[in-house]
């Protein structure tokens, strides 16, 4: 069963009177428990596609269906709600709140999802434990290493049990050892049945995925599934 279905998606910007097609008729179906890598050079529409999948952006035309919900028809509030319920974001720059503890950072999606305090705390603790940070819960981001910060961010992405985890260059700001640790976490999340979408330009990151699509000039040029 498909989680995400993109049909004939266009995203057209008008830059200085000139039409730029960031996405030029993209069709993409992502199923449950897929491990997908989106690749492509800069300017290929990779980021635009990621924003589209992440419900941060809406298409100029086309149909985007996310578990039966029509994303392309949504307003800002509905988009915020679907991001909150169904998508876990992991960013290259971690994007943790600097003044909040690890646990508080993980609780934020639950606060916006209006989860009660006691339930929120136990969910956040469980998420942090699942990424191996049970002993760092009350540390602030500046007291954590880069790898640990990214693990907090993954815990935050996991905490409300999303339908997909969307990671944008998750190892881009990490040394190779921490990067491997992070990728190992993604691998195990995939093994546990999660749907993971990686956006990367590094082949050795993309090889963790079992399906890779390559974009060029706003079009999908290549869609390769690894047989597992």
């Amino acid at each position: 069963m498909s989680v995400i279905s993109l049909k004939d998606i266009f995203k057209i910007y008008n830059v200085g009177g000139e039409e730029v097609r960031a996405l030029d008729g993209v069709d993409l179906i992502i199923g449950e428990n897929e491990y997908l890598a989106i690749m492509g050079p800069s300017g290929s529409g990779k980021s635009t596609l990621m924003n589209m999948i992440g419900c941060l952006d809406t298409p100029s035309s086309g149909i985007y269906e996310f578990e039966g919900e029509m994303v392309h028809e949504m307003d800002d509030n509905q988009l915020a709600s679907i991001r909150n319920r169904k998508i876990g974001f992991v960013f290259q720059t971690f994007n943790l709140l600097p003044k909040a503890t690890a646990q508080h950072n993980v609780e934020i999606p639950l606060i916006y999802g209006n989860v009660k305090r006691s339930k929120r705390q136990s969910m956040a603790i469980a998420a942090l434990e699942s990424v191996g940070l049970g002993d760092r819960m009350h540390h602030k981001p500046n007291e954590l290493s880069g790898g640990q910060r990214q693990r907090v961010a993954i815990a935050r992405a996991l905490v409300n049990n999303p339908s997909i985890i969307l990671a944008d260059e998750p190892t881009g700001n990490l040394d190779s050892k921490s990067g491997q640790e992070i990728m190992a976490i993604f691998d195990s999340l995939y093994q546990a049945g999660n749907t993971i979408i990686l956006v990367t330009h590094e082949d050795n990151i993309a090889k963790h995925a079992n399906r890779t699509i390559r974009l060029l000039d706003g079009k999908i040029k290549e869609d390769i599934s690894k047989l597992s």
């Binding site: 941060l56 915020a80 709140l97 916006y112 209006n114």
Partner: protein, 404 residues
């Protein structure tokens, strides 16, 4: 929505605490505004209280016949040749007036009083009759007032104010003791209760009251003379007309001439006072509005800076599911917290200020006004935070996440 409220509160308070100096400087306009409005309120409440007390001294139902008006627009050269008020007319007024309940002639002089090696200067010596006690609102709290027969005799008896008692007798009883008024020895027969200052200007307790007869014999007749007439409050208008007519007749004023005397009442004080109050209130209000407007602009400015600084955070929060309304509330709350903090600081300073004011005349900070001003600072917070918060709420999450 409860947890979101606490999240917002937490963000706001930690943001204010993280930028203590900036928050303080930002809130300064609000601090000054709230300080101005509460201090003004305190001042007016104190003035009201002291004014009421002073007016009580004058009495609502007493007409003071004097040579000059207390408040007047007449030129000095027009009235300087008026003859003095003749205290003997008091008798005539009492006999003829149908409105006068009590009539007391008064003759004031000023001198020093001694007792042993203690003395007190600049004491008002009032010569009057026993009816003065009936007209005055101040009670005799120890001893007695002089009698009708003593009033016109040369009896050397005196009723003293609390300032005299404090200066010459301290903790001793004054009744029956002797003191020296100018060069003459008097016996104290009573003390007037403490009255305080008249409009904060001079002490009403620095007075000694003696029989008119004695006053005329011992002290000069050049004193300031007048007649105090107590009437029924309802008859005040009629009584004033009647007394004016009688005084004109007694002083041989021709029909074509203006009055050469004045009938004074407490009303003009009230008019003057409302003008002063209006001036204080107006000034305070002007300062308040000005500083709140300027303070509000400062807060709006700093909130724009905050939104800019935290663009990435806003992007992250939006990606994690914050709706535009949630972001709007977050920044509005922060702006309100800064203002509330300024308001509380202003109130604290005003409370200190009111203690200082209290040293000069009794006053207290009106609690209602304090609450209103806290409300006012919150309103300033909402208004000045609106545009920056709206900007934050409307940020595109993609641009915000990409913002360096």
């Amino acid at each position: 929505m409860f947890s979101l409220f606490f999240e917002n509160l937490y963000i706001s308070v930690s943001s204010v605490l993280a930028n203590k100096m900036r928050s303080l400087l930002t809130a300064l306009g609000v601090v000054i505004g709230i300080l101005a409005v509460t201090l003004m309120g305190t001042l007016i409440s104190g003035l009201d209280r002291s004014f009421e007390k002073s007016m009580e001294f004058l009495g609502k139902d007493v007409v003071y016949i004097r040579k000059f008006e207390w408040f007047g627009s007449k030129e000095w050269w027009e009235i300087r040749n008026r003859p003095n008020i003749d205290v003997k007319h008091a008798e005539v007024l009492r006999n003829r007036s149908q409105f006068a309940q009590y009539v007391a002639p008064v003759s004031d002089w000023q001198t020093s009083i001694k007792r042993g090696d203690k003395d007190i200067n600049g004491v008002r010596i009032t010569g009057t009759t026993d009816e003065y006690a009936m007209i005055s609102t101040a009670e005799i709290d120890i001893g007695r007032f002089f009698s009708n027969s003593e009033s016109h005799s040369g009896a050397r008896v005196a009723v003293i104010g609390k300032d005299i008692k404090d200066a010459l007798f301290e903790d001793e009883s004054s009744i029956g003791k002797k003191l020296k008024v100018g060069n003459y020895i008097f016996r104290v027969i009573g003390e007037v209760e403490k009255q305080g200052k008249f409009l904060g200007m001079f002490s009403l307790d620095k007075q000694i009251i003696i029989p008119l007869g004695t006053h005329e014999r011992l002290f000069t007749r050049r004193g300031w003379t007048g007649i105090n007439v107590k009437v029924n409050e309802a008859d005040l208008g009629d009584a004033t007309e009647e007394l004016t007519a009688m005084m004109r007749q007694l002083r041989h004023v021709r029909p074509t001439q203006d009055d050469n005397f004045a009938l004074n009442r407490q009303d003009p004080f009230k008019d003057q006072y409302s003008m002063i109050k209006l001036a204080i209130g107006g000034t305070g209000l002007f300062i308040t509005i000005l500083s709140l407007v300027v303070g509000g602009i400062g807060i709006a400015n700093i909130m724009f800076v905050t939104v800019k600084e935290r663009t990435r955070e806003i992007g992250t929060r939006k990606a994690l599911g914050a709706t535009p309304k949630m972001i709007l509330t977050q920044f509005l709350m922060e702006s309100v917290i800064i203002c509330l903090f300024g308001g509380l600081l202003g109130l604290g300073l005003a409370w200190g200020g009111s203690l200082i004011i209290n040293q000069y005349f009794p006053s207290d900070m009106p609690m209602g006004l304090a609450l209103v001003s806290l409300g006012l600072s919150m309103v300033v917070g909402v208004i000045s935070g609106l545009a920056p918060s709206y900007k934050a709420a409307k940020l595109d999450p993609i641009d915000a996440l990409r913002y360096e």
